[in-house]
Symmetry: C2
Protein backbone atom coordinates (compact mmCIF):
# COMPACT_ATOMS: atom_id res chain seq x y z
CA UNK A 1 0.00 0.00 0.00
CA UNK A 2 1.49 3.28 -1.02
CA UNK A 3 1.44 6.33 1.21
CA UNK A 4 1.41 10.06 0.50
CA UNK A 5 4.84 11.59 0.00
CA UNK A 6 5.87 14.97 1.37
CA UNK A 7 7.77 16.85 -1.33
CA UNK A 8 9.75 18.70 1.36
CA UNK A 9 10.85 15.40 2.89
CA UNK A 10 11.64 13.99 -0.55
CA UNK A 11 13.83 17.01 -1.32
CA UNK A 12 15.53 16.80 2.08
CA UNK A 13 16.55 13.19 1.41
CA UNK A 14 19.25 14.06 -1.15
CA UNK A 15 21.64 16.86 -2.00
CA UNK A 16 22.77 16.35 -5.61
CA UNK A 17 21.70 19.03 -8.07
CA UNK A 18 20.27 18.33 -11.53
CA UNK A 19 19.68 14.71 -10.48
CA UNK A 20 15.92 14.06 -10.29
CA UNK A 21 14.31 11.65 -7.85
CA UNK A 22 11.17 9.77 -8.85
CA UNK A 23 8.49 10.36 -6.22
CA UNK A 24 5.58 8.55 -7.87
CA UNK A 25 4.39 7.11 -11.16
CA UNK A 26 1.14 7.94 -12.97
CA UNK A 27 0.39 5.31 -15.59
CA UNK A 28 3.54 5.34 -17.74
CA UNK A 29 4.69 8.76 -16.54
CA UNK A 30 7.08 9.62 -13.72
CA UNK A 31 6.76 12.53 -11.34
CA UNK A 32 10.25 13.65 -10.38
CA UNK A 33 11.64 16.30 -8.08
CA UNK A 34 15.07 17.90 -8.45
CA UNK A 35 17.29 20.42 -6.77
CA UNK A 36 18.74 22.78 -9.31
CA UNK A 37 21.10 25.74 -9.48
CA UNK A 38 23.04 27.26 -12.34
CA UNK A 39 22.89 26.06 -15.93
CA UNK A 40 21.58 22.80 -17.28
CA UNK A 41 22.34 22.00 -20.93
CA UNK A 42 20.65 22.67 -24.26
CA UNK A 43 18.66 19.56 -25.17
CA UNK A 44 15.50 18.45 -26.87
CA UNK A 45 12.90 15.73 -26.33
CA UNK A 46 11.77 14.75 -29.81
CA UNK A 47 8.72 12.77 -28.75
CA UNK A 48 7.38 14.26 -25.53
CA UNK A 49 6.35 17.46 -23.87
CA UNK A 50 7.94 18.21 -20.49
CA UNK A 51 6.07 19.76 -17.57
CA UNK A 52 7.76 21.94 -14.95
CA UNK A 53 6.42 23.19 -11.62
CA UNK A 54 8.68 25.39 -9.51
CA UNK A 55 8.44 24.34 -5.85
CA UNK A 56 11.03 26.77 -4.53
CA UNK A 57 13.30 29.44 -5.96
CA UNK A 58 13.04 30.36 -9.62
CA UNK A 59 13.57 28.59 -12.91
CA UNK A 60 14.43 30.15 -16.24
CA UNK A 61 13.98 28.09 -19.39
CA UNK A 62 15.65 29.26 -22.58
CA UNK A 63 13.70 28.10 -25.64
CA UNK A 64 14.71 27.92 -29.29
CA UNK A 65 11.42 28.42 -31.11
CA UNK A 66 10.67 28.91 -34.80
CA UNK A 67 10.33 32.66 -34.16
CA UNK A 68 13.67 32.84 -32.36
CA UNK A 69 15.15 32.34 -28.93
CA UNK A 70 13.39 33.52 -25.78
CA UNK A 71 13.55 32.76 -22.07
CA UNK A 72 10.54 32.15 -19.85
CA UNK A 73 10.86 32.87 -16.13
CA UNK A 74 9.00 30.67 -13.65
CA UNK A 75 8.75 32.04 -10.13
CA UNK A 76 7.91 29.71 -7.27
CA UNK A 77 4.44 28.25 -7.73
CA UNK A 78 4.29 28.55 -11.49
CA UNK A 79 4.09 25.93 -14.22
CA UNK A 80 5.18 25.63 -17.84
CA UNK A 81 5.15 22.91 -20.47
CA UNK A 82 8.01 22.74 -22.97
CA UNK A 83 6.54 21.35 -26.20
CA UNK A 84 8.11 18.28 -27.75
CA UNK A 85 10.74 19.14 -30.32
CA UNK A 86 11.64 22.47 -28.75
CA UNK A 87 15.29 22.83 -27.78
CA UNK A 88 15.51 24.21 -24.27
CA UNK A 89 17.99 24.91 -21.49
CA UNK A 90 16.88 25.30 -17.87
CA UNK A 91 18.76 27.70 -15.62
CA UNK A 92 18.25 28.51 -11.95
CA UNK A 93 19.72 31.80 -10.68
CA UNK A 94 19.38 30.67 -7.05
CA UNK A 95 19.16 27.24 -5.36
CA UNK A 96 15.73 26.01 -6.44
CA UNK A 97 13.49 22.96 -6.39
CA UNK A 98 11.34 21.76 -9.27
CA UNK A 99 8.78 19.06 -10.00
CA UNK A 100 8.94 17.56 -13.47
CA UNK A 101 6.55 15.24 -15.26
CA UNK A 102 7.39 13.19 -18.32
CA UNK A 103 7.05 9.64 -19.62
CA UNK A 104 8.95 7.00 -17.65
CA UNK A 105 12.38 6.54 -19.17
CA UNK A 106 12.72 10.08 -20.48
CA UNK A 107 16.34 11.25 -20.20
CA UNK A 108 17.13 14.53 -18.45
CA UNK A 109 19.32 15.46 -21.41
CA UNK A 110 16.79 14.48 -24.05
CA UNK A 111 17.35 12.75 -27.34
CA UNK A 112 19.91 15.28 -28.58
CA UNK A 113 22.00 17.65 -26.49
CA UNK A 114 25.12 19.75 -26.19
CA UNK A 115 28.08 18.28 -24.31
CA UNK A 116 26.86 17.39 -20.84
CA UNK A 117 28.83 19.25 -18.13
CA UNK A 118 30.01 17.34 -15.05
CA UNK A 119 27.45 18.96 -12.78
CA UNK A 120 24.52 17.65 -14.84
CA UNK A 121 23.36 14.08 -14.29
CA UNK A 122 22.26 12.39 -17.53
CA UNK A 123 19.62 10.08 -16.12
CA UNK A 124 16.08 8.81 -16.44
CA UNK A 125 15.61 9.58 -12.74
CA UNK A 126 16.60 7.82 -9.54
CA UNK A 127 14.01 6.17 -7.29
CA UNK A 128 13.52 8.15 -4.11
CA UNK A 129 15.59 6.74 -1.28
CA UNK A 130 18.33 5.17 -3.39
CA UNK A 131 21.70 6.74 -4.18
CA UNK A 132 22.65 8.61 -7.32
CA UNK B 1 3.73 31.23 -27.65
CA UNK B 2 2.68 29.97 -24.27
CA UNK B 3 3.76 31.63 -21.07
CA UNK B 4 4.31 30.32 -17.54
CA UNK B 5 1.19 30.21 -15.39
CA UNK B 6 1.09 31.17 -11.74
CA UNK B 7 -0.96 28.59 -9.85
CA UNK B 8 -1.96 31.26 -7.31
CA UNK B 9 -3.29 33.48 -10.08
CA UNK B 10 -5.03 30.52 -11.71
CA UNK B 11 -6.75 29.67 -8.42
CA UNK B 12 -7.70 33.32 -7.86
CA UNK B 13 -9.48 33.42 -11.22
CA UNK B 14 -12.45 31.30 -10.14
CA UNK B 15 -14.41 30.44 -7.03
CA UNK B 16 -16.34 27.23 -7.75
CA UNK B 17 -15.37 24.23 -5.67
CA UNK B 18 -14.84 20.72 -7.06
CA UNK B 19 -14.70 22.22 -10.58
CA UNK B 20 -11.17 21.82 -11.97
CA UNK B 21 -9.53 24.30 -14.32
CA UNK B 22 -7.06 23.05 -16.93
CA UNK B 23 -3.83 25.01 -16.59
CA UNK B 24 -1.70 23.18 -19.16
CA UNK B 25 -1.50 20.00 -21.20
CA UNK B 26 1.38 17.54 -21.30
CA UNK B 27 1.08 15.28 -24.33
CA UNK B 28 -2.38 13.75 -23.90
CA UNK B 29 -2.61 14.58 -20.21
CA UNK B 30 -4.17 17.61 -18.53
CA UNK B 31 -2.84 19.40 -15.47
CA UNK B 32 -5.81 20.78 -13.55
CA UNK B 33 -6.18 22.84 -10.40
CA UNK B 34 -9.26 22.83 -8.19
CA UNK B 35 -10.59 24.46 -5.07
CA UNK B 36 -12.10 21.88 -2.78
CA UNK B 37 -13.87 21.65 0.54
CA UNK B 38 -16.07 18.97 2.05
CA UNK B 39 -16.88 15.66 0.43
CA UNK B 40 -16.49 14.65 -3.18
CA UNK B 41 -18.13 11.37 -4.25
CA UNK B 42 -17.10 7.72 -4.36
CA UNK B 43 -15.93 6.99 -7.89
CA UNK B 44 -13.44 4.94 -9.85
CA UNK B 45 -11.31 5.43 -12.94
CA UNK B 46 -11.12 2.01 -14.56
CA UNK B 47 -8.32 2.80 -16.99
CA UNK B 48 -6.11 5.45 -15.43
CA UNK B 49 -4.18 6.36 -12.33
CA UNK B 50 -4.88 9.80 -10.86
CA UNK B 51 -2.19 12.05 -9.38
CA UNK B 52 -2.88 14.55 -6.59
CA UNK B 53 -0.66 17.34 -5.25
CA UNK B 54 -2.01 19.43 -2.39
CA UNK B 55 -1.18 23.11 -3.00
CA UNK B 56 -2.96 24.47 0.06
CA UNK B 57 -4.98 23.04 2.93
CA UNK B 58 -5.33 19.30 3.33
CA UNK B 59 -6.85 16.51 1.30
CA UNK B 60 -8.09 13.17 2.60
CA UNK B 61 -8.67 10.37 0.11
CA UNK B 62 -10.74 7.39 1.20
CA UNK B 63 -9.72 4.25 -0.71
CA UNK B 64 -11.48 0.91 -1.13
CA UNK B 65 -8.60 -1.51 -1.54
CA UNK B 66 -8.57 -5.30 -1.67
CA UNK B 67 -7.46 -5.37 1.98
CA UNK B 68 -10.27 -3.03 3.05
CA UNK B 69 -11.04 0.64 3.30
CA UNK B 70 -8.48 3.19 4.47
CA UNK B 71 -7.98 6.92 4.24
CA UNK B 72 -4.74 8.63 3.29
CA UNK B 73 -4.13 12.18 4.51
CA UNK B 74 -2.22 14.61 2.31
CA UNK B 75 -1.00 17.76 4.01
CA UNK B 76 -0.02 20.76 1.92
CA UNK B 77 2.97 19.94 -0.27
CA UNK B 78 2.37 16.22 -0.49
CA UNK B 79 1.52 13.94 -3.40
CA UNK B 80 -0.34 10.69 -3.90
CA UNK B 81 -1.35 8.56 -6.87
CA UNK B 82 -4.64 6.68 -6.75
CA UNK B 83 -4.16 3.50 -8.80
CA UNK B 84 -6.54 2.77 -11.64
CA UNK B 85 -9.46 0.61 -10.60
CA UNK B 86 -9.40 1.77 -6.99
CA UNK B 87 -12.65 3.31 -5.75
CA UNK B 88 -11.88 6.53 -3.94
CA UNK B 89 -13.54 9.57 -2.39
CA UNK B 90 -11.65 12.82 -1.79
CA UNK B 91 -12.56 14.96 1.19
CA UNK B 92 -11.15 18.30 2.33
CA UNK B 93 -11.70 19.25 5.98
CA UNK B 94 -10.83 22.90 5.25
CA UNK B 95 -10.87 25.05 2.10
CA UNK B 96 -8.03 23.59 0.06
CA UNK B 97 -6.41 23.72 -3.36
CA UNK B 98 -5.16 20.74 -5.32
CA UNK B 99 -3.33 20.01 -8.56
CA UNK B 100 -4.48 16.90 -10.41
CA UNK B 101 -2.97 15.11 -13.37
CA UNK B 102 -4.79 12.62 -15.57
CA UNK B 103 -5.38 11.88 -19.25
CA UNK B 104 -7.26 14.55 -21.16
CA UNK B 105 -10.96 13.77 -21.10
CA UNK B 106 -10.93 11.98 -17.74
CA UNK B 107 -14.13 12.74 -15.82
CA UNK B 108 -13.93 14.05 -12.26
CA UNK B 109 -16.48 11.41 -11.27
CA UNK B 110 -14.78 8.55 -13.07
CA UNK B 111 -16.33 5.73 -15.05
CA UNK B 112 -18.61 4.60 -12.22
CA UNK B 113 -19.75 6.63 -9.24
CA UNK B 114 -22.33 7.13 -6.51
CA UNK B 115 -25.03 9.71 -7.09
CA UNK B 116 -23.29 13.02 -7.78
CA UNK B 117 -24.30 15.70 -5.23
CA UNK B 118 -25.12 19.21 -6.44
CA UNK B 119 -21.89 20.69 -5.13
CA UNK B 120 -19.74 18.38 -7.25
CA UNK B 121 -19.14 19.29 -10.90
CA UNK B 122 -19.05 16.20 -13.16
CA UNK B 123 -16.63 17.48 -15.78
CA UNK B 124 -13.53 16.73 -17.77
CA UNK B 125 -12.17 20.10 -16.68
CA UNK B 126 -12.77 23.67 -17.79
CA UNK B 127 -10.11 25.67 -19.65
CA UNK B 128 -8.61 28.34 -17.44
CA UNK B 129 -10.27 31.68 -18.02
CA UNK B 130 -13.62 30.38 -19.22
CA UNK B 131 -16.73 29.97 -17.07
CA UNK B 132 -17.99 26.80 -15.48
Amino acid sequence: MSEPISLDKALASFSEQWSPRIVTAVNDYDVRVAKVEGEHVWHVHDDTDEFFLVLDGELHIALREPAGERTVVLPRGSVFTVPRGTEHKPYAPVPSAILVLEPTGTSTVGDRHDEVPDHVHATTGTPLGSGR
